[in-house]
Homo-oligomer: 436 residues x 2
């Protein structure tokens, strides 16, 4: 705080770890934008201009440290340049006032920039007339589009009077939007497609035509009427088409992988007390019956992908509030269980009754086994009144049904047992009278 | 040798470092195949079968160590499986006899395999009738195509009699052929093209369409008549075309990079005494005159590429006989010097006279400056009788011409000075009477 008194800005990074309300906001926005969001709380002292920042809690190598470095870069360029980010940002003014000026990036190739940076003021002809020049008061919010240049001053008015009080704002950054850009998908898809194309196509494993380097390369590009060169270019173009076709062929699994990456980056779901009582967090031993109705707690918090001949279910319930704080702990199922799993994941916002699940075996025990294993993972909610654990043991309890198939199907890829899971509670449960 | 007596095979890896004749053979083949070759000398003791190997001189992480490990893998599978390599190999029998059986790989996708491995004998129906079953005697050579399965036994005859003497053979492996497969070029080209396409095309920097994951992915692939899915696939196909077009656009610089990689992997050129006397190795201070005729020592040992607005000349004269034993030490020139450099590199097998070089400045001093700087790198040979250093100082010596432009143009990227270069001598020079 000594530094703060001397005019330094204080940033609280990853506040969602410490402040439940920010966790809840981010969790909702994460679903809306289909994207992880980062957050920081920024406290600017009552001085004429933000000159330096002293971030707190930046651990080496952490995301916080990275944000911190980005920020330092921006600050260094403060006087002669204005920063832009590779994220969509939302500013929520909490206390005091702050003046913001922003406008589209003058460099077209930095529109929707993939990296943050700064643009020299001398390159911005129109900076004296920014698109937006506004003062935020408590309760105001501002959207800063990805790639736009912006400047924040802790000024009381847009005419530039020095601020007499501090400014406190929350900045939420939507890292990508819909789990990534189209380029991100291609970055995942294309190298994989190239590898598979080489395995599938012997032409890609053949040596380059003898003497090809005499007809390609910058030196050869100046020779006119080289028919060998034209043939080589056509050959490469055809093989690029082979790779592109392979990419389209593996588009579906690549999209599944992107969804898996999103789930790995998501926040755990904040539960209300009522929700907690009806899912594994509050009722880990709840029994699943043929008439039990289930649905996901939130849409998109779990996904099923086919990997090495198994259906693998990934979900974000065990994630920590810190990005990648815990590794995903997926559950593997046999391919036969695929349709039942897909039905449970796809039903939202409706519920589905266990006996209505499809299974090639037609066995009720198999359906219950799948539902029980997924319920234990914590992302399913019991929605029928009879099965709800808070209503005590239901009347027609059938011994032997509970946990059917668990031993075979529940294969944790890491060693975290169900009992070892950390409970995620927003507040103390008020109707949790789980009888088991 | 204790182990050798007990029946272990001894391998001498990278013999080209120690044996000049192997260095010379490899250097010639390297040009013919446009590919680096590796070599090993294999000594098999007079026993019934090669069972284990005890390689020598395998340093951790070295290529030798890798070869060694590959070999161990093969040997482990000796009884029940036969190996194949991801290289074209040539066996030269030096002493004794050895029996070789080989045939095409039974797995089509291992035709021109990209990795070595072994195929279980039970998967090879025709192994009792291999394509080739022959006994090599000293002087015989055998070609083992990439991907073919083979077995070597130290047998005296093809009927399987145990050998009564040792077998010694040299194995030369052509790692890729024409500096790589078409797939290698695409592995270099495609990621670069994707990166550049993302920078150039705002569609690739845009977020994926909202809800795209509901229409793509394995679960969505089973839904029929999904028009949104078809539109998304078309969108991705169009963007893949953008990447492929970018790849064709940057094909020439990518080929230049591949040539540079080949030059980095090449052996230094073995010089005859006569050659050495007429190039920088034997006459480092030779003067270049306007009438001096120059040509490259061997075709393809140097290449000029444009990097960051400079013409950069890479050559293999400073390479060590061990793969990547020394880093490339390129020379940078201004773009203006490009045509003169290109003419000197392209003239082979003809020579070119310095005054005939093209230069935008039309200045003779600039032409001499380029030629002198390249001559110092060691890959150019003086071919006119008058300039030859072995003939002593020429009659019409012009003071001030020597070394013109050196200070400006010779910018070594690493700190190796010209004087620090190791001379590459096949034998002691017999006509080296360099007067300088």
């Amino acid at each position: 705080w000594e530094n703060y008194k001397n005019g330094l800005t204080v940033k609280l990074l990853t506040p969602q770890i410490y402040i439940d309300s920010i966790w809840k906001i981010l969790s909702v926005l994460e679903h809306e934008f289909q994207s992880r969001l980062s957050a920081e709380v920024v406290l600017v002292p009552p001085t004429q201009r933000q000159t330096k920042s002293a971030p707190v809690q930046a651990r080496p190598g952490s995301v916080a440290e990275k944000l911190n470095n980005d920020d330092n870069n921006k600050v260094k360029a403060h006087v002669s340049a204005v920063p832009y980010d590779n994220v969509n940002a939302f500013v929520l003014q909490l206390e005091g006032q702050s003046r913001w000026r922003l406008m589209p990036n003058p460099h077209a190739q930095l529109n929707l920039a993939t990296d943050g940076g700064a643009v020299a003021l001398k390159d911005i002809d129109e900076w004296s007339k920014p698109t937006i020049d506004t003062v935020l008061s408590p309760g105001d919010s501002l959207y800063i589009p990805k790639g736009w240049v912006y400047q924040q001053d802790n000024h009381g008015t847009s005419s530039g009077d020095p601020a007499t009080e501090h400014s406190l704002h929350l900045k939420l950054c939507c890292t990508h939007g819909t789990t990534g850009t189209t380029g991100d998908l291609l970055h995942l898809l294309v190298p994989e497609a190239l590898g598979e194309a080489v395995q599938a196509n012997v032409q890609l494993r053949s040596a380059l035509p003898k003497g090809y380097h005499l007809h390609l390369g910058l030196a050869a590009s100046e020779v006119e009427g080289d028919t060998k060169r034209a043939r080589l270019q056509k050959h490469i173009a055809e093989l690029l088409k082979v790779v592109a076709d392979k990419a389209l062929e593996i588009l579906d699994p690549a999209v599944d992988q992107l969804q898996k990456q999103f789930i790995a980056a998501r926040l755990p779901v904040p539960l209300s007390a009522r929700e907690e009582a009806c899912c594994a967090a509050g009722a880990p031993h709840a029994v699943i019956y043929p008439y039990t109705a289930l649905r996901m707690l939130r849409p998109g918090i779990a996904t099923a992908v086919v990997e090495a001949g198994k259906v693998v279910v990934y979900h974000c319930m065990d994630n920590s509030r810190e990005l990648y704080g815990t590794a995903l702990s997926p559950v593997e199922f046999e391919l036969d269980d695929g349709p039942a799993i897909e039905a449970l994941l796809a039903a939202y916002p409706d519920s589905i009754t266990v006996s209505d699940l499809e299974h090639p075996s037609e066995e009720l025990d198999d359906k219950i086994g799948v539902a029980q294993a997924l319920f234990k993972e914590g992302f399913l909610l019991i929605t029928d009144e009879v099965s709800k654990p808070s209503h005590g043991p239901p009347p027609k309890k059938k011994p032997g049904v509970r946990g059917s198939g668990d031993g075979e199907k529940l294969k944790k890829k890491n060693s975290n047992g169900v009992d070892g899971k950390k409970k995620l509670r927003v507040q103390e449960p008020d109707d949790d009278d789980d009888p088991f």
